[in-house]
């Protein structure tokens, strides 16, 4: 313990002499360090315990509880009954669950690449010093702060088959009226489009920030070496944006796999189950048909799938780095 203290004060002393802001007597500093460490544990626990209790209490406890629940038949009210792996077996054979997985995959597979690539393209367009550029950036980003509920209400209105502005516009161009959310072949794609409208701005902002940190020396060097615009983009700009891209792909994928609010407000999973995504399936099983154990099993299946994808990505990333 004392050695640790000495090493630490030695370290800070060195730092202090380098920084040169404060020149304090080393003995006074050692005394202060000693005082600091005495009873430090108790103060530290007082500082962290509210966060620890709330965060762990509302994550670790539920994670374990969910696992237990997935082996039970439960309606959230009456005492639950142990059923072993029955929930998982039913799940594996449930066509509705399979559909929900498929629709979530389609939604994610469209939303993630389109928002990330679109975000990069728009960020490259917006990364220039011209008049009104601040306004353009604001307008592209502003849908991001609109809640999914508000987006849903707004687009249900715009896309109302009878009274909506969208069909009115189509009518003016002489195009046939569309069913939009009432058409099973369109609803899921409309949800992707709305999410792109609101979610691409986030990618734009993160990429714009990333573009600021591309080293001008590298760009200059590439130019001198005779690289054109596309050459600089391909060999300098894009590689230096790779960490940003990886973050965005993960962030957008996590959001896409958990899409719920927008679905709840616009289609409630319909028509004909065509927009029932996984989280909607889980919510419906737990809080509408009151089969909470079954719902917990579905949530666990999804979480394990996410975990596997996450681990695979980590492994892949490490291999690429080598």
């Amino acid at each position: 313990m004392r050695r640790a203290v000495e090493r630490r004060t030695g370290g800070t002393e060195l730092m202090a002499s380098v920084v040169g802001t404060f020149t304090v007597d080393p003995r006074a500093r050692a005394a202060a360090a000693k005082r600091r460490n005495r009873g430090e544990g108790r103060t530290a626990w007082a500082f962290v315990s509210p966060s620890v209790v709330i965060i762990l209490g509302l994550s670790v406890v539920p994670v374990l509880w969910s696992l237990l629940l997935s082996f039970q038949a439960s309606d959230l009210v009456s005492p639950s009954r142990w059923v072993g792996f029955a929930n998982y077996r039913t799940l594996a054979a449930d066509p509705l669950f399979r559909e929900a997985v498929g629709q979530t995959v389609v939604y994610t597979a469209l939303y993630v690449p389109l928002s990330v690539v679109g975000g990069l393209a728009i960020a490259l367009l917006l990364d220039r010093k011209i008049r009104l550029i601040g306004l353009y950036r604001t307008l592209v980003f502003v849908p991001f702060v609109v809640s999914a509920a508000a987006q849903g209400v707004l687009f249900s209105f715009v896309l109302d088959p009878e009274f909506g502005a969208a069909n009115s516009l189509l009518h003016q161009f002489g195009l046939p009226a569309q069913g939009f959310f009432s058409d099973p072949s369109q609803a899921l794609y409309l949800l992707v489009a709305i999410s792109l409208w609101s979610g691409t701005g986030f990618c734009v902002i993160v990429y714009l920030a990333g573009l600021q940190s591309v080293e001008p020396e590298l760009v200059e060097a590439a130019r001198i070496d005779g690289a054109g615009r596309t050459g600089v983009l391909r060999h300098v700009v894009l590689p230096s944006l790779t960490p940003v891209t990886i973050f965005l792909v993960l962030f957008q994928a996590i959001n896409a796999l958990q899409v719920f609010d927008l679905v709840f407000v616009t289609t409630k999973g319909g028509p004909l189950g065509s927009t029932t995504v996984i989280v909607y399936f889980i919510w419906e099983k737990a809080f509408k048909s009151f089969t909470a154990g079954y719902s917990a099993a579905a949530a666990y299946a999804l979480a394990v799938a996410l975990l596997v994808i996450g681990v695979m990505l980590q492994v892949y990333q490490r291999r690429v780095k080598r």
């Binding site: 103060t43 994670v63 307008l139 502003v142 990333g210 917990a296």
Partner: protein
């Protein structure tokens, strides 16, 4: 400001920006249309005159102002609590030595990757056991502090030079005093980031209120809005007026604090 020359890029950028702005513009426009104009076929694309009946209807509704206050209360408490508890926890993890601090921090970080749908049913059960279901408490307790807030504060405090606190230690200042009077005044970027992100996520949340609240006097704006839509199907102007009021606080906050807002989101992305 230096005047910049006109650029042909405007021909690309202006339509693009307009595409993103159009739905929100349409939201504003339709909220001041009269119901007869909205329900006409084909619907009018521009109001002939500004009609505030939608707003009058919404604000005169007994529940709507209440939902607004509920949302405001939940978000305010969440922001305040995240700033206080997050900075306390973050400071302890950054600067103080206590048994088990490293594994504890690791565990807290690990909870960030737990998907919400895995915890939503048992969180409902935990809240039920605490007797909080169908009260605003059920909305407040889970949002009091997030691992992200603690982690963000920790990262910021670690990057501050220790020397700033050294003199105060020697003068015998306690940890709390050092945190409040020396560290936090320097931590404005961290404070604003946590405040912005907490407000955005609590104000805009729908899933958890939907699960935790039954009685309509305890609804938040987002939840109220979704039921509003069904109840007043013919009253689209009112629904759109309610929607504008729901979106407005976030939008105004964003426009007022645009720089801090964008910086905090962008940096949360870059450090993630």
């Amino acid at each position: 400001m230096k005047r910049l020359p006109f650029s042909p890029w405007h021909f690309v950028l202006a339509p693009l920006a307009l595409l993103f702005a159009l739905p929100l513009l349409w939201l504003l426009v339709s909220s001041v249309m009269s119901n007869s104009e909205i329900n006409r076929f084909p619907p009018a694309l521009w109001p002939s005159r500004i009609d505030l009946d939608g707003y009058r209807f919404v604000l005169g509704n007994a529940l709507f102002p209440r939902w607004f206050l509920n949302s405001l209360l939940v978000s305010t408490v969440a922001v305040t609590a995240n700033l206080v508890l997050g900075s306390l926890g973050g400071y302890a993890f950054a600067r103080m030595r206590f048994a088990g601090s490293k594994p504890l921090l690791g565990l807290m970080l690990a909870t960030m990757v737990i998907p919400f749908q895995l915890t939503m049913i048992p969180t409902f059960l935990v809240m039920k056991h605490l007797g909080l279901i169908d009260t605003l408490g059920a909305l407040i307790v889970p949002s009091l502090v997030t691992p992200f807030s603690v982690f963000l504060f920790r990262q910021f405090f670690v990057s501050l030079p220790r020397e700033l606190e050294e003199a105060a230690w020697i003068d015998g200042c306690g940890r709390l005093r050092i945190l409040v009077s020396i560290v936090l005044p320097l931590a404005r970027p961290a404070l604003s980031t946590v405040a912005v992100l907490t407000f955005l996520s609590t104000w805009n949340d729908l899933t958890w209120p939907l699960i935790a609240i039954n009685h309509d006097t305890n609804y938040t704006l987002q939840l109220g809005l979704t039921t509003f839509q069904g109840q007043h199907h013919t009253q689209w102007a009112a629904v759109m007026a309610g929607n504008v009021i729901t979106v407005l606080p976030v939008l105004l906050g964003f426009l007022l604090a645009q720089k801090a807002f964008i910086r905090s989101l962008a940096s949360s992305g870059l450090k993630g």
